[in-house]
């Protein structure tokens, strides 16, 4: 039983990182229908930012995290302006290939700039484990889960209650109609990328707490898993991304706990396939009606 609870906490911790990253995918998809493959690599840049800030610039870990959020935000907006905006009227698959190209570019640039070796990130959180009854819970796990839930609540507030959030929802509903209503579409899309990438920055910080290493290719698998989480929850839906992240995280932990760790990746994808077969747009996705 004890082991089971530990495993559940493990799953929640991983799941909340997936969820944060999945939000970035989901928001971008919701607004320009792009599977932003470079999102995972934005996180990688975030991790390297934290590393440089702490080791080379000697910043306080909290400032380093802020720095990562800022850099990720700027990078996200920059990528959108340079690589995606020129292609907004093109076939979506071209946009997808561009995203893949950006992802490869970021990985290889990082390798040249920071080296292929893993860089160790000094501890961001240093506190003893929390004891609950007879159980030891690591602080990192608690912080990860709490921070990600707070971020998601903040995001929900932003999207539902603010003017910008309203604009985002309008653009994702119908870009042209939104434009006619006087919404600045380009600004809104930039803003969406900024928010998604800022979340990636927070995700990078949480990732670095749990796995204190930065490598050039760290974003690809994380990105893929988060992408699966986003689709599972219903891409374009914020609560969907959260649920998807947690489901994937917990499923992984439980499969590993059952001693089937080598099949974990397979099981994750199998869950995805089964869910999509019964709910073709994911758990909380909107069903899109096609007109003849």
């Amino acid at each position: 039983m004890m082991t089971f609870i530990y495993q559940l906490i493990n799953g929640l911790q991983v799941g909340s990182i997936y969820a944060l990253v999945a939000l970035g995918y989901s928001m971008v998809y919701g607004i320009i229908m792009l599977l932003n493959f470079a999102h995972g690599d934005v996180i990688m840049i975030g991790a390297y930012t934290i590393w440089i800030s702490i080791t080379a610039m000697g910043l306080h870990p909290v400032l380093a995290v802020l720095m990562a959020v800022v850099i990720c935000t700027l990078l996200g907006m920059f990528i959108e302006k340079v690589a995606y905006t020129p292609l907004r009227k093109s076939p979506r698959i071209s946009l997808l290939i561009t995203a893949i190209g950006v992802s490869m570019l970021l990985q290889n640039l990082a390798q040249i700039v920071f080296g292929a070796n893993a860089q160790t990130i000094p501890s961001i959180v240093t506190a003893p484990n929390i004891t609950v009854g007879s159980m030891q819970v690591s602080v990192t796990a608690v912080i990860t889960i709490v921070v990600s839930i707070l971020s998601m609540l903040g995001l929900t507030f932003l999207v539902q209650k603010t003017k910008m959030g309203k604009a985002m929802r309008a653009v994702s509903e119908d870009t042209e109609a939104a434009q006619l209503m006087g919404i600045h579409v380009n600004h809104t899309i930039s803003f969406t990328f900024a928010i998604g990438s800022a979340l990636a920055g927070i995700g990078a910080a949480l990732y670095c707490c749990a796995y204190p290493q930065a490598t050039p290719t760290m974003g690809s698998m994380l990105g893929l898993k988060a992408f699966v989480a986003a689709v599972l929850g219903g891409i374009g839906s914020i609560p969907g991304a959260m649920i998807g992240g947690f489901v994937i995280g917990i499923a992984e932990a439980l499969v590993k706990a059952a001693g089937l760790s080598v099949w974990a990746d397979g099981v994750v994808f199998a869950i995805l396939i089964v869910v999509l077969l019964f709910k073709p747009t994911g758990l909380l996705g909107r069903t899109m009606n096609e007109k003849v």
Binding site: T120, S123, P212, Q213, L254, S261, V262
Partner: protein
């Protein structure tokens, strides 16, 4: 049936052929005998997932060959390095190899990881190209002909060594294994460890796997912690070990860590050296070693690349050294550089290798695997310390 299909594939073929015709023109007279240099290839993954190992190997080999050239080279001839990236991919490696053949390369240091190395070894058998890999540890690598050598230990050797060390020297009764199922090195060591452990009566209470790109091992480690083994065998490379060690602590595991030579370098990447305190691993080389050869290598490498050399770099340095010595032998016979006899002479000379290297004294057995001492390194007070020869 319409006929345009044929035009299309015709177009395809035309393209292919014209490309071929266009490319083949400048390929002549690349043979190096004319300009007084000897071309040596270095093949490694310089980009992609395995780049950290590839770059270390490239740096190690290049360091030796550059030093060698400064000393005057072979018989007055300089060694010209031809360096190609293969991305960790077998297809790319075969292409890189054939390009080296085209470039007139006489011998190759490489490849780095097992699958591409085997693909190249098979290909190289056709032209009897002398090759020495610094790091491909799977037993089969050298089984595709006499042209293929290596300067590293083979998987079965290390795996069974650490099993018997755990049982005999550490007095372990139970062991657990956590390994990468997608990595041949990790898998090879695990298989050898398991079978030796079985023979000895060391009980393996848990074998947990993880996938190639995983960073989260908490679930597996929680399982292992529940079984409370005496030793935990982690046959992987240092970067992953650092993550495992960290998470093992969180999972409340107190087993002694045991590992293979991939552990070397772990102290540079672990966030707190206390995490791996008391771990044992087998290695061909120790940065703690006070012999002049090792100390000189450490100094030179740091001067050249501004970082500590890891095991990959050391083995690549040795591979280049063995190769250069063999080139001298072939050269002394006065053969034409790059000719088949020249290559055979290199292979013959490598077969007869008997010299002191950074990773120990090396001779080759009949399978072209190095016979060298393994040392057991223990991590004490945040440093690698020489424990024993075993």
């Amino acid at each position: 049936m319409k006929m345009r299909s044929f035009f299309k594939m015709a177009a395809a073929a035309v393209l292919s052929v014209s490309m071929l015709a266009g490319c083949s023109a400048p390929s002549e007279s690349n043979n190096n005998s004319s300009d007084g240099t000897i071309k040596v290839g270095i093949m490694a993954p310089l980009t992609g997932d395995n780049a950290q190992y590839g770059i270390a190997c490239r740096n190690g080999a290049k360091l030796y060959l550059d030093q060698y050239n400064e000393k005057g080279g072979v018989n007055g001839k300089k060694i010209e390095i031809v360096e190609y990236d293969e991305k960790g991919d077998a297809t790319e490696a075969v292409n890189a190899f054939n390009l080296m053949v085209k470039d007139g390369v006489t011998a190759i240091v490489g490849d780095v990881t097992t699958t591409p190395t085997i693909a190249v070894a098979i290909e190289a058998a056709d032209v009897n190209m002398p090759m020495i890999t610094p790091s491909a540890t799977a037993a089969e690598v050298t089984s595709y002909g006499n042209h293929m050598f290596r300067s590293c230990f083979i998987d079965p050797f290390q795996g069974s060594k650490m099993a018997s060390y755990s049982y005999e020297k550490l007095g372990a009764k139970t062991a657990a294994i956590i390994y990468d199922t997608g990595n041949d090195y990790s898998k090879g060591l695990t298989e050898a460890f398991t079978s030796t452990a079985k023979e000895l009566g060391l009980e393996v209470v848990a074998t947990e796997g993880y996938a190639k790109a995983d960073v989260d091992f908490k679930s597996q480690l929680t399982n292992i912690a529940a079984k409370n083994p005496d030793v935990l065998f982690c046959p992987d490379y240092y970067e992953r070990i650092a993550l495992i060690a960290q998470q093992a602590k969180d999972a409340g595991l107190n087993a002694t860590f045991v590992g293979g030579d991939g552990w070397d370098g772990v102290l540079d990447v672990v966030s707190d050296t206390a995490l791996v305190e008391g771990a044992y691993f087998c290695s061909g080389y120790s940065t703690d070693d006070t012999t002049p050869a090792v100390q000189q290598f450490l100094k030179d490498y740091q001067a050249a690349y501004n970082e500590m050399p890891n095991m990959f770099a050391a083995q690549a340095y040795d591979a280049a050294k063995i190769l250069a010595a063999a080139l001298e032998q072939a050269e002394s016979k006065g053969l034409a550089v790059g000719s088949d006899e020249y290559k055979s002479a290199i292979i013959e000379a490598m077969d007869a290798t008997d010299m002191d290297c950074v990773t120990g004294h090396i001779t080759f057995d009949e399978n072209n695997n190095p016979v060298k001492d393994a040392v057991i390194i223990k991590i004490t007070d945040g440093k690698y310390t020489f424990d024993s020869k075993f």
